[in-house]
């Protein structure tokens, strides 16, 4: 129960961060990715600010044996740079570069009820399920 509550709160803070920084606005994201005269570098500070907090904290947290409310850390151990990683990241980047939305901001933007956003999220869930289906069947 504690884990569910803390997840809810973490999602809330995460969402406020996305909104304040403007990550939830596709116009801002695309103006970062578009390197023309109207370049908006705000997004670099969002990532920079987040990493400035997470990097030293992670170093400190990982010295602990276990997290506060659970038995163990669940951190990916895979260290292989394989085709799936690179192709997947490339496909994700293409989608991100077209719409200016990635998963977190798209969920936050749902509440505007804009049809474009709702279609994006619905289609994203289909994409997740499609990959999940392929993964279960063939381990692609």
């Amino acid at each position: 129960m504690k884990i569910v509550l803390v997840s809810l709160f973490s999602g809330f803070i995460f969402g406020i961060g996305l909104i304040i920084s403007g990550m939830s606005n596709p116009a801002r994201v695309l103006n970062f990715l578009d390197l023309s005269a109207r370049w908006d570098p705000t997004l670099a500070l969002v990532m920079g600010g987040a990493i400035a907090v997470t990097m030293p904290s992670f170093y400190w947290i990982r010295k602990r044996n276990k997290p506060l409310f659970a038995d163990k850390f669940e951190i990916p151990s895979n260290n292989n740079i394989d085709r799936k990683l690179v192709i997947g990241a490339c496909i994700f980047g293409i989608g991100w570069g077209i719409a200016g939305l990635c998963p977190g901001p798209s969920i936050v933007a749902i509440t505007t009820l804009q049809p474009e956003v709702l279609l994006f999220v619905f289609s994203m869930l289909l994409g997740i399920l499609a990959q999940h289906g392929l993964h279960v069947k063939t381990d692609v």
Binding site: K2, I3, V6, S7, S10, F12, I13, F14, G15, G17, L18, I19, S21, G22, M23, S24, N25, A27, L30, L33, D34, L35, D40, P41, T42, A44, L45, G48, G49, A50, I51, V53, T54, A70, K84, L85, V86, G88, A89, C90, I91, F92, G95, W96, G97, I98, G100, P103, G104, S106, I107, V108, E116, V117, F120, S123, M124, G127, I128, A130
Partner: protein, 142 residues
């Protein structure tokens, strides 16, 4: 097919928002031992059973509540989409499929992965920012 809304450079809002995102990620790792990767959380919220689904659904619900909370005090969220519905549908599918094939998105690889110095995440982040920059510039400038 596309509109082009300019946005001002807002360094302090960007930095403040980024710090909040970082704090949320740290909170989740310290208390639950989990990495706050949103694409993985969305996927698990619809594919995993039982408790593994519940905490992910709670996180997603937190995201939605943050948005409602913000709009209660500050008015509607500035969400200015720039391309037609058909492109949003295509992009959504690519984002869903690509993030799962590549095991992460801007949060899982870009923030959490880089923070724990994961080589996989550094490569993934360079690749998705690279492909996004290329596609955006092709769409806008050709």
């Amino acid at each position: 097919m596309q509109t082009w809304t300019s946005t001002p450079f807002e360094p302090w809002l960007g930095l403040t928002g980024g710090i909040l995102i970082g704090l949320a990620v740290v909170m989740l790792l310290l208390t639950t031992g989990r990495i706050a990767g949103i694409s993985g959380i969305c996927a698990g919220a619809i594919t995993k059973p039982g408790f593994e689904r519940y905490w992910r659904l709670a996180f997603v619900l937190g995201l939605v509540i943050s948005s409602i909370f913000y709009s209660l005090f500050k008015g509607p969220l500035p969400v200015q989409t720039q391309v037609d519905s058909i492109w949003m549908i295509i992009a959504g599918f690519l984002v869903g499929f690509g993030t799962r094939l590549g095991s992460g998105c801007t949060s899982g690889h870009g923030v959490a992965g880089i923070a724990r110095l994961s080589r996989r995440s550094m490569v993934a982040t360079l690749v998705f920012i690279g492909s996004a920059v290329i596609i955006t510039n092709i769409i806008r400038h050709t």
